[in-house]
């Protein structure tokens, strides 16, 4: 069984300067309760790894707007203009990664691989500073694994072993991030007894999860584009 904590307690060990993965896509699948707790705690200088920065003041976008991140690794920041502003002013160091490469680098970390070879980015700015390999007549970039100290994952249902069901399009980066972070904090709308979540419906196995937090903020409304 995994500890079931309050959001405040669960984020207590996240020190300023920690590397944090936040699953979600344009806010869909962001752990709103955990993000809120981190903001209330006053966390800053985080190294944030997230697919995109959603919208201003929505989900993970709040960490950007409220100056909680020192660096950002993402694939898209266009829907949150504040990210671009902070990047241009030098307040936020941004590394942009193709979305498939982003997912595979995280997966590589979680799966114990030494890296990923991909043709994505060949002939573009993405290849700068990276090792290139020609295999069977085709060029590939060597992309290195990416891990984190913490990951925030959002589920609809979790059992007390941390097995989690993530519906619809909320799975996105959560599955790979759950494998790649040292401490995975799972926010769930509903926490059930072992056996109540059908093993066939498990999106993320509980073995990756460090602690479970019950959602206190609604997922709906908040994550739709303002």
């Amino acid at each position: 069984m995994k500890p079931i904590l309050t959001a405040e307690k669960a984020v207590e060990d996240i020190k300023d300067g920690a590397t944090l993965m936040v699953a979600g896509f344009m806010g869909c699948g962001n752990a709103f309760t955990l993000i809120d707790a981190l903001i209330n705690k006053g966390s800053k200088a985080l190294n944030l790894i997230t697919s995109d920065t959603a919208y201003p003041e929505v989900g993970v976008g709040r960490l950007i707007c409220q100056n909680r991140a020192a660096t950002l690794t993402a694939s898209h920041i266009g829907t949150n203009p504040v990210s671009g502003q902070k990047m241009n002013s030098g307040e936020l160091k941004v590394t942009l990664v193709p979305q498939g490469t982003f997912a595979e680098r995280i997966r590589a970390k979680g799966a114990g691989l030494g890296g990923v070879l991909t043709p994505t980015g060949i002939g573009t700015a993405v290849e700068e500073g990276k090792q290139k390999l020609n295999l069977n007549g085709k060029d590939y970039l060597l992309e290195l694994p990416m891990g984190a100290d913490f990951a925030f994952i959002k589920a609809e249902v979790a059992d007390k072993y941390g097995n989690a069901f993530l519906p619809g399009a909320t799975k996105n980066m959560a599955v790979v991030m759950a494998m790649a972070a040292d401490h995975v904090i799972l926010e769930a709308e509903k926490i059930v007894e072992p056996g109540e979540l059908d093993p066939e419906k498990v999106t993320i196995p509980g073995i990756f999860v460090s602690a479970i937090v019950k959602s206190t903020l609604p997922a709906a409304n908040l994550q739709l584009k303002p």
């Binding site: 979305q99 619809g168 399009a169 739709l224």
Partner: protein, 219 residues
Amino acid sequence: MDPKELKRVRLVKRIAQEFPDGALVNLGIGMPTMVANYIPEGRTILLQSENGFTGLGQAAQKGKEDPRVVNAGGQPVTIVPGGAFFDSAMSFAIIRGGHVDYTVLGGLEVDMEGNLANYMIPGKMVPGMGGAMDLVAGARNVIVAMEHTSKNGAPKILKKCSLPLTAKGEVDLIVTDMAFIRVTKKGLVLEEIAEDTTVEEVVKATEAPLHIAGKLGKF
């Protein structure tokens, strides 16, 4: 409909004819999204939403939005019967593994070698590439849908792209309000022109040299 919109509709209608029945297609944001509305009768295509499903349907009706089902732009949408949800690693394995038959994307610049620039303008627009680099490198057929020239009339089909590339040598077709152009090993081939233009006008509006197909079509 205003004349500009009519031209866009003509363009996306032409692209919609390219897909065989059952094709898996990924459409970019903006004009490419319109292609889905003009699939010829009797054919069905399956749309992928790269944030995690196949079977992307129409935008969700007001009041019926499901926050768990959004498209790659974050808008609430629907999933059609026969759709499937998955995570990002699966979604991009579908894209990078060559399982997407067609992708349609917008373009800032395309050149005669099939290079595409569509994700940033240094110093002005730096939103990040999102899934565009993966799509252009991984999809079996890459179609660029765009206006033939920029707002001030400058060619967008160039000898060599000047903006940072999204991918090198991956574009197969360029469809604009004026022309249907195939990228081949010997260069760009003008296969069709829009019904309200001439070959001369197309050539004039294109910086890259064009080979004119023997049997020139109209659309």
